[in-house]
């Protein structure tokens, strides 16, 4: 299982089509840095849970068949193939490891990883315009409350000072929600393997905070060209990324530890 996880992790990181081996090695630091810290936390938790799971259990014929099938999925074209392979492995683990809590928890984190790397981006690609209009509506409403005159047309929002922004899929809150949920599931699975009803509320809290932070940043970029430059590509964006990461991490830790104490 650890080897299988290695195959999946390598395929998720080393996506550089049309490059030679040397170019991929050169681009390795960039490829590693392009992934979120929550991606690595997720994989760390998966590896740790797999290592801690019942070591005496040897692989069955079905385990090997599914394992090789999961590897073969990675030969399919497209960026999502690795994420789909992760989903298949997670589904198999959930279906066959009822007695092993560690493996079930690893499967939950794998699902979080596939949601973030394959299904979330696919969903966003399919419904991008409708999803970004939701973000634009939140920003537009906030602007209408705080500014006398506002431009708001579909996914374009701004003020009447001649500055407006277009909300693209890459700025969508959904992107951040899938990362936030991945962090929450990973931290929870690291602290305890079983699920509690209160976990749903912590997950919802993570989603709400992520949306609030993203909409706040979009609101600021819509105010003026100077604010846009600061919060989109400038120091403000760096600050936002660090703050959002820290806040999601703290909520996840708080949720996992607090609920553990209560249970």
């Amino acid at each position: 299982m650890l080897w299988l996880a290695c195959v999946l992790l390598a395929n998720q990181i080393l996506w550089e089509p049309g490059q030679s081996a040397l170019q991929v090695i050169e681009a390795l630091p960039q490829l590693i840095a392009s992934k979120s810290i929550f991606f690595y936390i997720g994989w760390y938790v998966v590896f740790r849970l797999l290592t801690e799971s019942a070591p005496e259990r040897s692989a069955s014929g079905l385990d090997l068949t599914v394992g090789f099938a999961v590897c073969l999925i990675n030969f399919l074209p497209g960026r999502s193939a690795a994420g789909i392979a992760v989903t298949v492995l997670a589904a198999y683990l959930l279906a066959t490891t009822a007695a092993d809590e560690k493996l079930r928890a690893a499967a939950a984190v794998l699902l979080g990883l596939s949601l973030n790397s394959a299904w979330g981006p696919k969903f966003l690609e399919l419904f991008a315009y409708h999803l970004v209009r939701v973000d634009a509506a939140l920003v537009g409403s906030a602007l209408m409350i705080t500014w006398p005159e506002v431009i708001w047309n579909g996914n374009i929002v701004g003020t009447r000072n001649g500055h407006s922004i277009i909300v693209y899929a890459s700025c969508s809150s959904l992107q951040n929600i899938s990362l936030g949920l991945l962090c929450w599931v990973s931290i929870k699975s690291l602290v305890r393997t079983h699920w509690l009803r209160a976990d749903i509320w912590i997950g919802l809290l993570v989603c709400a905070v992520v949306v609030l932070l993203n909409v706040s940043r979009l609101y600021l970029t819509a105010l003026s060209p100077e604010q846009y430059a600061y919060w989109h590509g400038g120091f403000g964006e760096e600050m936002y990324l660090w703050a959002a990461t820290l806040i999601v991490l703290l909520i996840s830790l708080w949720g996992a530890l607090r609920v553990r104490q209560m249970s």
Partner: protein, 163 residues
């Protein structure tokens, strides 16, 4: 012994899958090269438009066509049409816009129709049966009223594999 063989097989699969990813075709971020090829096949002489600083839209390609009262504008757009209301401003106000993807043309934005076409050719491409590379980029052609250049041109070479 069995465990060693298994680990060796998985290590080989790890390498093979990563190498197969490197050999995957690189996806272009716009369709300009394909558009130039398609227009050249019709004997048209296109030219690239200026890159507008701060514009959310990609630069266009322009060409003159017989029977058209003005230049025809061709722009690469996202298949999900996330550019939204900005697309209404492409071309002069009197221009007629057409949305083109693979082998079909739409007079109005049709996200579902375009996505279903993408799905069809994506499935075919996984089986190695698609004549196109179904990437998530489409074309918006803006032409003067009464001009039928967009309909007369065979745009399919834009998405044909050039590998």
């Amino acid at each position: 012994m069995k465990a060693v063989a298994l680990r060796t097989a998985l290590a080989a699969l790890l390498l093979a899958t990563v190498i197969s990813k490197m050999h995957a075709p690189r996806i272009d971020r716009n369709l300009d090269a394909g558009v130039l090829v398609a227009l050249a096949l019709h004997g048209l002489s296109p030219h690239r438009g200026p890159t507008e600083q701060g514009s959310a839209l990609l630069p266009s390609i322009y060409f003159e066509a017989p029977g058209c009262d003005g230049a025809v504008q061709v722009m690469t757009i996202q298949l999900n049409l996330q550019e939204g209301p900005l697309l209404d401003s492409v071309g002069a106000p009197s221009y007629v816009r057409r949305f083109i993807y693979l082998d079909r043309t739409w007079p109005d934005p049709d996200r579902l129709g375009m996505r279903l076409l993408w799905l069809k050719y994506k499935a075919l491409s996984i089986l190695g049966l698609s004549p196109y590379v179904p990437i998530g980029l489409a074309l918006l052609v803006a032409q003067p009223k009464g001009c039928h250049a967009a309909e007369a041109i065979d745009w399919r070479p834009v998405w044909r594999s050039r590998g």
